[in-house]
C-alpha cells in the first residue's frame, strides 16, 4: 500500500474541476455516461471525445504516482438519524398497514418504506377487503405519490391562469370571511367512506356553516345497484357477494371479479371454489355463466358465455325469471312478479335453459349478479330472484349502505343549483368533476367568472382546478391520517408514511382549517386551529367508538379496527310490494328494446380497466400495462367484432379512425377489432383525456392518449348509447398493442420452434390416437400446438387426470452434452421454482404492475411499445381459443369464443438456452437454479433473447429510466413522441427517483434484463436464515465445550415455505402463483409441481424450466 497522504486524498477529490465542468463530472463520476443520448448528434459526440481526451491526457500526465480523479464512485453522504427509533435499521424495509381508497371503498394494504420512502404496496393479509392481494391500481398508487405533475402548492386563478400562491394567501381571501352561516355554500366531495371527514362534517361544518349543502359525487359509484336494491327492499342497502359459497354463479352484464370495488375478495372467493388442487376425482368446481355485451375478464373465465347486446339483458332477465318459475318443480316466485311475467314470451335460448336448469338444481347454492351499468330495474329483479332462490343469507347478504343518496343525485343537485345561480361558494373536495361529469352541464368556469368562490382541493391541477378560483393541494393517501371502510364495512386505518411532499391537506384537514378560520374570524379562541391536523382529527373521530390507546395501537398495526372482523353486520331483508310495480314495468318496457343493427349500433361506455374514470391517467405504469383483453397500451379504442367491422367497411389495419355519432354528440375514435363481442355492439372505455387535452391539465404522461369517450355521454344514459351511427374518416390512428409481441404461438414463433425440434411434432403424440378418443377437446386447443396453454373440462380431467402431460409425447431422447456443474439435488441447497395455476389466473394484470414496481422496470412509452420494446419482465399472454374461422367471428356465434390468460415470466431453465449463446457469460446459472442476469457483463449482443424460446428477455434500447422526459429516438411515423419531444434531463428528477426499489439495480442502456424470481426477496430471507443456522451451530459448539460433550448436529434452519413471496405471487388476488424450494418436499411448489395438472411449457426443447404451469379446467354443464 502506498504511504497514506490524507491531504492529497482530499485534494484529489477537488481535482475533478480541473479537467472540465459539470458535463465532465457527470461522465466520469457515473459508471456509464449519463448523457449518451447527446452522442447521437455529431456535435455532442465531438464534445464527448474532447472530454474523454482530457481525462486520458490527465491520466497520462499524472502517471502512476499520482491518483487520477474521476473513476471513483461519486462522493456520498451518510445521514444517520439523530436518534434512531428502536428496531429501525438503515436499508431494511419497514411495512406499515394502511388503506388505499378508490370511489369510497377501502382496500387494506401494506406500504413498504425504505429509509423513509414508500416504495411498494402489498395487500394486507388480515384485511377482509384484500386478503393479502392488491389491485394494479393500488400497486401503482405509490407512483402517483411521486408524480412530478402533482400540484406543488395552492394556486389562484388570475386572468384565466393559475398563479402560485400560499395557504396563507388563500386564508386571507376576503370571500372566505363572507361565507357567513354557509348560505349558498356547496361542498361537493369525492365519494369517500372516511369516518374522519364525516366527523369533521358533523362537528365543524355543521356547527359553523349550518346552512351549507353537502353533496357526494364519484363517477364510479354503483348508482343503479343502489337504486335497484332500494326499490326491492325499501332502504339503501349494499349487497355483499360471497362467491366462495355459490356452486353456480350467473353474471348478467357483470364482472364481479374485476369491475367491482370488492373485486379482490370476489376473485379470491371465486377461485377458492374452483381451485382443483387435490386429486382429480374429488374435484368440485363452481360453474360460471356470463351474459354480456362486452368481453370482460369474468367472461373469459365463464364456463358458458353468452355474447348479447347490453340492451337485450332486461329481456334476458325476464325470460330467466319466467324459466325459473315455469313448469313442474319451478322456483316459487313472489306473486307480484309471477303475474308480471305472464306477458313475457320465451324465446329459444339454450344458454338460458342451462342457467335456469342449473339454478333450479342448486337452490340456495347459487348467485345471480348484475353489473353496475345495467338499469336499476334489472337489479331489482335479480335481487328478487336471489331471494326466491334462497341465496340471501348465503351467497349474498345485505349490509346498510353508507350513503342514502347516489352520485347522480349529488351532481344533479349541484347542476341545478349552478343553473339557478344559487351557488355563492363551492368547495370541491377531490375528484375532477369538470372532466368526469361534463355531461351534467356544470359550468364551473362561468360560476367562477360570475364571482362564486370556487375552490378545488386536489392532488393534480386538472381541468376542475383550472375552472375554479382557487386550487389547493390535497394530500396523497400515503401522506394522510384517516379511517375508511372496506366494501363490507370493515373500518380500516390510513396512516402516513411520509410528510406531505407539497404541503397538501386531506379533505378533513381542509374543512377543519376552514372552520377554525371561521372561529378566529369571530374573535374566539383559535384553539381549533391547532387541531386541524389529520392525526388529532382521526383520534377524535374514532373516540366515539370507544377508543383506548391500546386499541388504537393495535388497529394501527393491523390496519383494521378489529382484527378478524369482516365488516358490517348483515341485515334481514324483505321484499317491498312496490318492487313489482314501477321497476318491473320499466323492465318490461326495456325488454322491448330493438337489437342493435348496422345503422343503429349500441356502444357501451365502460370505465377503463386500468385508468378507471381517468383518475389514474397520469401513471405510466398503468398506461403501459397492456389492457387484459386488447393488450392495448397508452390508448383506448372502440372495440368491434370482426363481423361488425367488416359489415361497416372498416379496415382496421389501414384506416381505423371513425366518427361516432350519438344523438347530437360525436367523437372521432380508432377502432380495434376484438373477437367475442356481440354483433353491432361496440365497447369504448372512459378515462382517457383524448387527443386535444392540454398537458398542464392532464399531465405529461396522459397528454395525447386515447379518445375522450366522456364527450358522448348523456346524464340519461351514461353507460350505454343506442342508435349510434358510424362513418369512416379514411384516416388511420396508430395503436400500440402488445398482443403480438414476444409471441411463441404465432406462425413465426411456432415455425421457429418447429424448425428447432423438427420431426418432433409429427407423430410425437405417442398416445395420440388413444388420446383423441378420450379427448375431443384437443381440437379446440390453440391450433397446431406447441400447446403452450393446456385446458380441458372437469369431467375429462376426472377420467383422464394426466391429460396435461399427454399433449406431447415422450420427450425427445436427448443426451446432456455436459454434466451440470451444480448438484441441484443437494438437500443443503435451495432449488427455487415457481408454479403458475392457469385455472386460477383471471388475467387481471396486477402481477405485471407489482413486478414493475418491485424490479424498477421502466416505462418506455407508446412509440417504443409499438416497436415491441416494452420492458415488462412478466407478461400475460392472452390467447383466443376456437378454430380460426370461429375466432374471426364470421358466421359463428361469438359466444363460443374462449379466451385464456397465461402469465409468462422467466422460466429459469436448468438447461438455459440463453446461457449457452452469451459470448461474455453475462447470463449464468446459480447453485440455487436461478438463471442470473449480470447487467454489468452484458454487452448487448441480444443473442440470449434470440435464443430464448419463451421470449422473456427484455433489452434496454435507451436510458429508459429518464422518466417522462425520456429522450426519444425518432418516433415511428404517425406515432406521437412519448410523451413530448426529446428534452435533455441528465437523470430522473429527485422526486421520480424516490420510487425506485434500492434493492434492485437500475439498468442502463444496452443491457439485457429479465425476471430474476425476485432474487432480492430471496436474499432478504435466505441470508438471515443462514445467519441463524451458523449462530445455532456456534452456540451448540460452545455449549458442548462447556458441558464437555460431543457436539450435536444442529437441526437445519432454512427459509420456511411461503416466507419468500415473489412480487407477482404476493399481489395475485387468486393465488395463481406459488414460489418455493423444490428440495423441500412439503413446500407448496413441490406439491404443485407433482400435481397431474402441471406441465412444462415447450418440454420438447428439454430446457427443463423451473417455472411450470398447471393446466386450466372448465366446468361446463353436461347435458343429460
Amino acid at each position: 500500500m502506498p504511504p497514506l497522504d490524507v491531504e492529497r486524498q482530499t485534494y484529489w477529490r477537488s481535482l475533478s474541476d480541473l479537467a472540465e465542468t459539470e458535463e465532465f463530472r457527470q461522465f466520469v463520476e457515473n459508471e456509464f455516461p449519463s448523457r449518451a443520448e447527446e452522442l447521437v448528434d455529431p456535435l455532442s459526440r465531438r464534445r464527448f471525445l474532447k472530454v474523454m481526451g482530457a481525462s486520458l491526457a490527465l491520466a497520462g500526465l499524472t502517471g502512476c504516482d499520482d491518483i487520477y480523479p474521476g473513476f471513483r464512485w461519486p462522493k456520498e453522504k451518510i445521514l444517520p438519524f439523530t436518534a434512531r427509533p428502536e428496531g429501525r435499521h438503515p436499508g431494511t424495509a419497514v411495512y406499515y398497514a394502511t388503506s388505499y381508497e378508490e370511489a369510497g371503498v377501502a382496500q387494506g394494504v401494506l406500504a413498504k418504506s425504505m429509509d423513509g420512502r414508500p416504495v411498494k404496496i402489498e395487500g394486507n393479509g388480515v384485511h377482509p377487503g384484500s386478503y393479502g392481494a392488491a389491485t394494479a391500481q393500488a400497486q401503482a398508487s405509490v407512483l402517483s405519490l411521486y408524480d412530478p405533475d402533482r400540484s406543488k402548492g395552492p394556486a389562484q386563478l388570475v386572468d384565466g391562469q393559475l398563479q402560485d400562491k400560499t395557504w396563507e394567501d388563500f386564508l386571507a381571501d376576503e370571500r372566505l370571511k363572507a361565507l357567513g352561516e354557509g348560505e349558498g355554500l356547496y361542498v361537493l366531495s369525492a365519494t369517500t367512506s372516511s369516518r374522519v371527514l364525516q366527523h369533521v362534517r358533523e362537528t365543524r361544518l355543521g356547527k359553523y356553516f349550518p346552512k351549507s349543502t353537502w353533496l357526494d359525487f364519484d363517477p364510479l359509484t354503483r348508482d343503479e345497484e343502489h337504486n335497484g336494491v332500494r326499490a326491492a327492499f325499501g332502504r339503501p342497502l349494499r349487497p355483499q357477494y360471497h362467491l366462495d359459497r355459490a356452486r353456480v354463479v350467473v353474471c348478467l352484464g357483470d364482472d364481479p371479479l374485476h369491475d367491482h370495488p370488492n373485486a379482490l375478495a370476489h376473485a379470491r372467493g371465486f377461485s377458492d371454489a374452483r381451485r382443483a388442487l387435490g386429486s382429480s376425482h374429488e374435484q368440485r368446481m363452481n360453474r360460471l355463466y356470463v351474459a354480456e355485451g362486452e368481453l370482460s375478464l369474468a367472461g373469459t373465465q365463464a364456463d358458458h358465455r353468452l355474447a348479447v347486446a347490453g340492451s337485450q339483458l332486461p329481456r334476458l332477465g325476464l325470460e330467466l325469471a319466467k324459466r325459473l318459475g315455469a313448469g313442474e318443480g319451478g322456483v316459487e316466485l313472489p306473486a307480484g312478479l309471477a303475474a308480471k311475467l305472464e306477458g313475457v314470451t320465451l324465446s329459444e335460448n339454450p344458454w338460458l335453459d342451462a342457467v335456469a336448469a342449473d339454478l333450479r338444481e342448486n337452490l340456495g347454492d347459487s348467485l345471480i349478479t348484475v353489473g353496475p351499468r345495467q338499469p336499476a330495474a334489472l337489479h331489482t329483479l335479480v335481487h328478487t330472484l336471489n331471494l326466491a332462490l334462497g341465496n340471501v343469507g348465503g351467497s349474498v347478504t345485505y349490509t346498510p349502505a353508507p350513503s342514502a343518496t347516489t352520485s347522480q343525485e349529488g351532481i344533479n343537485a349541484l347542476a341545478t343549483a349552478l343553473k339557478g345561480n344559487k351557488v355563492k361558494a363551492l368547495l370541491i373536495l377531490g375528484g375532477n368533476p369538470a372532466a368526469t361529469a361534463r355531461e351534467y352541464g356544470l359550468d364551473l368556469g362561468a360560476a367562477t367568472s360570475a364571482g362564486a368562490f370556487t375552490v378545488h382541493l386536489s392532488t393534480m391541477r386538472n381541468e376542475t382546478s383550472r375552472a375554479c378560483a382557487w386550487h389547493l393541494p390535497m394530500a396523497h393517501y400515503l401522506e394522510s391520517w384517516d379511517a375508511v371502510e372496506s366494501w363490507s364495512g370493515a373500518l380500516s386505518l390510513t396512516q402516513p408514511l411520509i410528510q406531505p411532499l407539497f404541503g397538501g391537506r386531506t379533505q378533513a384537514e381542509f374543512l377543519a382549517l376552514l372552520s377554525a378560520q371561521k372561529q378566529i374570524a369571530k374573535g374566539t379562541s383559535p384553539k381549533l386551529a391547532k387541531t386541524a391536523k389529520g392525526y388529532e382529527l382521526t383520534r377524535e373521530a374514532l373516540k366515539i367508538g370507544g377508543d383506548s390507546e391500546e386499541a388504537w395501537r393495535r388497529a394501527l398495526h393491523d390496519g383494521v379496527w378489529q382484527l378478524g372482523a369482516t365488516g358490517a353486520e348483515p341485515v334481514e331483508v324483505a321484499l317491498q310490494g312496490s318492487a313489482f310495480t314501477q321497476p318491473l314495468d320499466d323492465l318490461v318496457s326495456r325488454a322491448k328494446a330493438a337489437a342493435p343493427s348496422k345503422d343503429a349500433l349500441e356502444v357501451s361506455l365502460v370505465p377503463c380497466s386500468k385508468l378507471r374514470d381517468g383518475r389514474h391517467r397520469n401513471l405510466g405504469w398503468l398506461q403501459e400495462l397492456p389492457e387484459p383483453l386488447t393488450k392495448l397500451t397508452w390508448d383506448n379504442a372502440l372495440l368491434l367484432s370482426p363481423k361488425t367491422a367488416e359489415a361497416l367497411g372498416i379496415d382496421d389495419a389501414k384506416a381505423n379512425l371513425v366518427k361516432l355519432t350519438a344523438g347530437e354528440k360525436s367523437l372521432e375514435v380508432a377502432v380495434m377489432v376484438l373477437p367475442g363481442l356481440p354483433e353491432f355492439c361496440g365497447v369504448l372505455s372512459l378515462g382517457y383525456p383524448g387527443q386535444d387535452a392540454k398537458e398542464e391539465e392532464v399531465g405529461v404522461v396522459a397528454v395525447g392518449t386515447g379518445f375522450d369517450a366522456t364527450a358522448l355521454r348523456t346524464p340519461a344514459s351514461p353507460w350505454s348509447l343506442t342508435g349510434v351511427t358510424l362513418s369512416l374518416t379514411g384516416r388511420n390512428y396508430a395503436l400500440a398493442t402488445t398482443q403480438d409481441h414476444h409471441a411463441i404461438a404465432t406462425q413465426i414463433g411456432r415455425g421457429e420452434t418447429e424448425r428447432r425440434v423438427s420431426g418432433l411434432y409429427a407423430g410425437t403424440l405417442a398416445s395420440e390416437e388413444a388420446h383423441e378418443a378420450s379427448h375431443e377437446e384437443k381440437d379446440n386447443l390453440i391450433p397446431g400446438g406447441p400447446w403452450l396453454f393446456r385446458e380441458t373440462n372437469l369431467s375429462d380431467y376426472q377420467q383422464n387426470p394426466d391429460f396435461a402431460a399427454k399433449f406431447i409425447g415422450p420427450s425427445p431422447a436427448v443426451t446432456q452434452l455436459w454434466e451440470s456443474p451444480v448438484d441441484y439435488a443437494d438437500p443443503m441447497k435451495y432449488r427455487w421454482a415457481l408454479s403458475i395455476d392457469l385455472n386460477a389466473c383471471t388475467g387481471c394484470g396486477a402481477c405485471v404492475v407489482a413486478c414493475q414496481a418491485e424490479n424498477n422496470i421502466p416505462v418506455v412509452g407508446k412509440s417504443e411499445v409499438a416497436r415491441g420494446r416494452e420492458m415488462h419482465w412478466l407478461r400475460i399472454d392472452r390467447y383466443f381459443r376456437g378454430d380460426p374461422r370461429q375466432a374471426l367471428n364470421k358466421g359463428v356465434d361469438p359466444s363460443d369464443l374462449r379466451v385464456v390468460h397465461q402469465p409468462v415470466p422467466c422460466m429459469q431453465c436448468e438447461n438455459a438456452p440463453c446461457e449457452s449463446v452469451c459470448p461474455v457469460a453475462a447470463t449464468v446459472h446459480s447453485q440455487e437454479g436461478l438463471n442470473d442476469m449480470v447487467y454489468n457483463r452484458c454487452i448487448g449482443t441480444r443473442y440470449c433473447s434470440n435464443n430464448c424460446p419463451y421470449k422473456v428477455r427484455r433489452f434496454n434500447y435507451f436510458y429508459n429510466h429518464y422518466g417522462p422526459f425520456h429522450p426519444r429516438s425518432k418516433p415511428l411515423e404517425g406515432l406521437p413522441t412519448f410523451p413530448k419531444p426529446p428534452e435533455l434531463t441528465p437523470q430522473l428528477g429527485e422526486l421520480e427517483r424516490m420510487v425506485m426499489n434500492p434493492d434492485v439495480t437500475v439498468r442502463t442502456r444496452g443491457v439485457m434484463e429479465k425476471c430474476s424470481y425476485c432474487v432480492q426477496r430471496i436474499k432478504e430471507k435466505s441470508i438471515p436464515a443462514k445467519n441463524k443456522m451458523v449462530q445455532a451451530e456456534l452456540e451448540e459448539e460452545a455449549a458442548a465445550k462447556r458441558e464437555n460433550r460431543p457436539v450435536d448436529l444442529v437441526p437445519l434452519i432454512r427459509v420456511r415455505d411461503g416466507e419468500i413471496q415473489t412480487a407477482c405471487q404476493q399481489t395475485c388476488p387468486t393465488q395463481a402463483f406459488a414460489f418455493g424450494d423444490l428440495n423441500d418436499p412439503e413446500s407448496e411448489v413441490s406439491r404443485r409441481h407433482a400435481h397431474p395438472r402441471t406441465y412444462e411449457m415447450l418440454k420438447e426443447l428439454n430446457a427443463r424450466p423451473r417455472t411450470r404451469y398447471m393446466a386450466k379446467l372448465r366446468n361446463p354443464r353436461e347435458e343429460a
Binding site: E31, A59, G63, T92, V924, Q1016, I1023, Q1031
Partner: protein, 189 residues
C-alpha cells in the same frame, strides 16, 4: 498500461480518506478507549448495513465528556436541531453490488479483513480495493480471512497456540461448512 493502472481500484480507491464534518478518531475511541465496533455499528450482525450511529449514540458519552469541545459542535448542533451529521462515506461498493455485513460477520470474517486496522486510524481511510476481484478472491479462498465468530471485532486476533492462520481458517471453514457462493446473484441483483 498506464491508463489501466491509473483506473484500477487498487490505485484509485485505496487510501481514500475524505475529510469528515467531525474529526472522529477511531484510534482514540477503539484503539485507546477500547470501544467495541458494535457499540456504534449496531446492526452489523443482523442486517446488510453496519450503519453509522445516530447522533444520540455520540451524546451518550459526550453529554458528559468534553461537553464544550468546539470539535464536537456539529454533533451537539445535530442533537439539538434533529438534523443529521453529514458523514462522508469512505467504504463504498458499486450500487449494483449488494454487500451484506451480517452474512460475513456471523461466519467469522473479521472487520479488519476489509476495513484494516481501524483502531490505528485517526482519519478512516480505505485499505483494501473493495473491487470485484478482491471480493471473489476471498469467496474462493475464505480460509484466508476466517476466525471464530466471537473474535470478529478483534483487531489483533491471532489463532490460538501459535496455529497458522491459514490452517485455522481451513479447518474452521470445513467445520462450519463455509462455502461462500460465487454465483452472480450472490452480490448482484
Amino acid at each position: 498500461m498506464l491508463v489501466a493502472y491509473g483506473a484500477s481500484p487498487k490505485t484509485l480507491a485505496v487510501g481514500y480518506a475524505p475529510e469528515q464534518p467531525v474529526p472522529y478518531s477511531h484510534k482514540l475511541h477503539v484503539g485507546e478507549l477500547g470501544l467495541d465496533c458494535r457499540y456504534c455499528h449496531t446492526s452489523v450482525e443482523e442486517t446488510a448495513k453496519a450503519n453509522i450511529p445516530p447522533t444520540s449514540t455520540c451524546m451518550n458519552c459526550h453529554s458528559m465528556i468534553r461537553k464544550e469541545s468546539p470539535l464536537l459542535a456539529p454533533v451537539r448542533e445535530s442533537f439539538a436541531s434533529g438534523q443529521p451529521v453529514e458523514w462522508v462515506r469512505v467504504h463504498s461498493v458499486a450500487d449494483y453490488a449488494y454487500f451484506n455485513h451480517s452474512a460475513h460477520v456471523t461466519r467469522g470474517v473479521g472487520c479488519v479483513s476489509c476495513h484494516g486496522r481501524i483502531d490505528t486510524m485517526d482519519v478512516v481511510y480505505q485499505t483494501q480495493p473493495l473491487s470485484m476481484s478482491w471480493c471473489v478472491d476471498c469467496h474462493r479462498h475464505p480460509e484466508r480471512s476466517l476466525r471464530p465468530a466471537s473474535e470478529v471485532t478483534n483487531m489483533t486476533w491471532q489463532p490460538p497456540n501459535g496455529q497458522d492462520p491459514y490452517e485455522f481458517g481451513k479447518s474452521y471453514a470445513e467445520q462450519h461448512s463455509i462455502n461462500p457462493p460465487t454465483d452472480c446473484s450472490t452480490c448482484h441483483r
